[in-house]
């Protein structure tokens, strides 16, 4: 028990000492005295200030070099002017003031604000002319810090909002698609607002320029399918059926989906970035002011380019994928080239191609429309461009796979 009391006493004592060291917890005059003692001990050349009550004024002596980047700027205690009698001005003595920059202004601004709270006049005319001028430019009332936005946890509302937003987006994309289609029809009869140059450059970017990457990916996918299939089929001595496995998988699913995913990452992201940059530069606004419809001038060529090249890339992907499969079978299995060719032809009725063809047309239109929409909806800063591009890629890939699932169900129902 005595030990406990002892420790309590020491703690209380410690706390008392600590309080005594903090001038803000004492009356203003004590604070001023204490600070005076504190600042007088500092290094030569360091910014110093000194508050001294005189007969009918309070004198603040400033000395040393006040350079912001040296980080030695003293803070002005908010209650240091509490004991200054009302009506008596605070004046400055700057004879020992060395070099100074905004650090001094910052200090004086603090002083001026606390003087305002203590209803004390500050005579800034006693400051150097330019410091006085700079100080006059500053507002007297500090800004209210903006409160952080309230953060509620409301899962039901969030889900509801998400659903509404999604439905709204679906509506917007459909509307945009309709407008673009109308623009396309107008272009057919020669009254459109689409420039052939734009269409051609978009076609080039979405078509020939993509051949290499689409080829590489589909070749590897075909090869992987052949690898996986050969392991099982070899057990049944049915090596030759690797050809039909690769052919059907590529034509029905893999080529269309892989090509669409590549194009969503490659071209969709590029569209979103391009349109959101135009948005940031007010180029979209300029188009609207001229009455040039964004839907047919910007969106139509982009969507047309993807919708037109995607089926062609799909066919190309099928061919390359089967080549990949053949490559693996030829090297690893006992399959003759003619046998592989024959088996592939046997396994593939033409309507399989029609189905894949329609799918990739839909994928192309979907990727084109959504990425343009995301670009148009983006904000106006550099970061927003990046966000829009990322979002376009994510929405494109997820959307393509979701659409493919829907197609699979449809195919199952109608029995293709």
């Amino acid at each position: 028990m005595p030990a406990m009391r002892m420790r309590d006493a020491v703690m209380q004592d410690g706390r008392g000492l600590f309080c005594a060291c903090r001038p803000r917890n004492r009356a203003g005059k004590v604070a001023a005295l204490r600070l005076e003692r504190l600042v007088n001990t500092s290094v030569n050349g360091a910014p110093q200030w000194h508050l001294q009550p005189e007969a009918n004024r309070t004198l603040v002596t400033l000395s040393g070099d006040w350079i912001a980047q040296e980080g030695r700027t003293p803070a002005f205690p908010t209650d240091a002017l509490k004991d200054v009698p009302h009506g008596e001005p605070v004046e400055f003595s700057t004879d020992q003031l060395g070099k100074w920059d905004t650090s001094l202004i910052s200090f004086l601004w603090e002083l001026k604000r606390s003087a305002r709270e203590a209803h004390v006049n500050v005579d800034t005319n006693t400051l150097p002319e330019s410091a006085h001028k700079l100080l006059d430019l500053l507002p007297e009332i500090p800004p209210e810090p903006t409160p952080p936005p309230p953060h509620h946890f409301a899962p039901v509302a969030a889900v509801g909002q998400f659903t509404l937003d999604t439905l709204n987006e679906v509506g917007c994309v459909s509307e945009m698609g309709t407008a673009a289609a109308k623009g396309g029809l107008a272009s057919l009869v020669g009254r459109g607002m689409m420039r052939t140059v734009d269409l051609m450059s978009d076609l080039n970017a979405a078509g020939p320029a993509a051949l290499l990457i689409v080829g590489v990916v589909n070749f590897l996918v075909g090869a992987i399918l052949a690898f996986v299939g050969s392991v099982e089929l070899h057990k049944f001595a049915a090596d030759i059926y690797v050809a039909s496995l690769v052919a059907i998988a590529m034509v029905r699913e893999m080529s269309a989906v892989m090509t669409a995913i590549i194009m969503a990452g490659r071209t969709g992201g590029a569209y979103a970035a391009r349109i959101s940059t135009m948005q940031a530069n007010e180029e979209i606004d300029a188009l609207q002011v001229f009455g040039i419809p964004v839907s047919s001038y910007l969106i139509l060529p982009s969507v047309l380019a993807l919708a037109f090249t995607m089926p062609l890339l799909y066919l190309y992907g099928c061919l390359i994928g089967m080549l990949g499969g053949f490559f693996v079978s030829y090297i690893m299995l006992d399959v003759s080239p003619l046998g592989y060719f024959h088996e592939t032809i046997q396994a593939l009725p033409l309507d399989q191609f029609t189905f894949g063809f329609i799918k990739s047309f839909v994928f192309g239109t979907f990727v084109g429309l959504t990425s343009c929409r995301i670009g148009l909806k983006a904000g106006r800063s550099a970061a927003d461009v990046g966000i829009a591009a990322t979002k376009a890629v994510v929405v494109g890939i997820v959307g393509v796979i979701a659409l493919d699932a829907i197609f699979a169900v449809i195919a199952n129902v109608i029995g293709i």
Binding site: Q69, T102, S106, W109, A131, P143, T146, A383
Partner: protein, 270 residues
Amino acid sequence: MNETNTQMPSTDDRPVMISVDDVTLAFGSKVIQHDVSFRVKRGSIFAVMGGSGCGKSTLLKSMIGLLRPTHGTYLVEKDNYWAGDDASRVRIGRRFGVLFQSGALWSSMTVGENVALPMQMFTKLEPDVIRQLVELKLGLVGMLHAIDQYPSELSGGMRKRAGLARAMSLDPDILFFDEPSAGLDPITSARLDELILNLRDGLGATIIIVSHELSSLFHIADDGIFLDAEQKTAIAHGSPTWLRDHCTDPMVHAFMHREQLDSSGSAGNG
């Protein structure tokens, strides 16, 4: 053309802060300006004048380190800017503050963060000290209310003022302003002029301004150079008021009096 009347007699004995000697600027083989020479005195406000497209901004670019001159020397006090390596250029560049034509604020950051970033990168100041200095600098340009706003939410004039606050963020002793008052209303523009004068007087900064805003130049600049697009060099040296009142060159005269040139069509009043 009489040589004596294109050169203001100098009575200024302040030390030289910046000296540019026979600088030639070119993009590839296309020469923009050749053999440009001038001195900027410490604490002066130096105007780079000239018609649109004469290479004012290109000269500024080479002075802030974005474009290497093909010929000539550029000294900042005793340091030869382009002769050193990248590290020495960065060291000299720390003395520069640049206000770009359209503000060039980093758009993914708030105005306050824009001003704070150089301080966070180059000083060891505490976050609350930085916050205080940011408030001060934005307060000086009258933008304190927009501290938490993003550049995309600001008007052109506000962006420019925020850009000025950012240029001052490290208390540079040489400030470069590219068209500071273009696109500002007269009151804001006058306030900016006053601010520039106060910065010069208060902080002792040397200021180089590229501008063709005559009223503002007459008010603040105390020295300058006039670049011509056709001769591709400096055709007159002197403060804007001196050039207006004493320069005999017809091009400079037309520019300073907002007149059209009699014979050759392009008066640079754009």
